[in-house]
């Protein structure tokens, strides 16, 4: 694990509020969790794009498929 430093710019009117919150919550933990979440989302985006890039699905077949799925969904709704 490597340690990095972050600086935040906070609007003037929130300075006191942020100082107060910093005493009660672990900002480091919050930031670490946020970054972890962002990294996870970016990874998911890459994986989805990688899968799609191997796909041979055409516009025509995609339309057929979605109609097929819609019919099934409609049936499940009793339509």
């Amino acid at each position: 694990m490597k340690e990095v430093e972050f600086k935040f710019e906070v609007p003037e009117e929130y300075v006191e509020e942020v100082k107060r919150l910093a005493k009660n919550i672990l900002l480091e933990e919050l930031l670490s969790k946020s970054l972890e979440h962002c990294a996870r989302v970016e990874l998911k985006k890459k994986l989805l794009k990688a899968i799609a890039s191997d796909s041979k699905l055409t516009e025509k077949k995609a339309f057929e498929l979605s109609e097929m799925i819609k019919e099934g969904v409609a049936k499940k709704h009793g339509l």
């Binding site: 899968i51 799609a52 699905l57 995609a62 099934g72 409609a74 499940k76 709704h77």
Partner: protein, 140 residues
Amino acid sequence: MLVVDTNVLIAGIINKSEVLDTIFKLYDKGISLFSPELVLKEIKSKLSVISKYSELSEAAVLFFVSTLFSEFIKPIPKEEYDKFLDEAKKVSPHLKDAPLFALSLTLDKAPIWSREPKLKKQKFIKVLDDKDVKEFFELM
């Protein structure tokens, strides 16, 4: 908020389709995307056909849709929009699209993102195609 039609979700699996990028941009902008939960169930029941048409493995297709629905699109249970189904049937140009309209009505007439031009025949709920979505949410 935006209700996503099945034809958009499936188009996301097309290679070099801009749909996936648009979904990601909407997510990054904090726009919430919704779809009936039964769509996910139905897609899961059609894995072999999707796999055949896309030449992707069933596992890849399953991962694709599961990830899409777990992170980028919120599946809504039928019970949550059921009460609007009758009204939706009157509005929707096709009966099969009524769940989509019912979901939109549940979400205060949230626009529907669809690649089916006929859905634009009605004027009660805003229907956006791929290009409209980019303009509407200023993704250009």
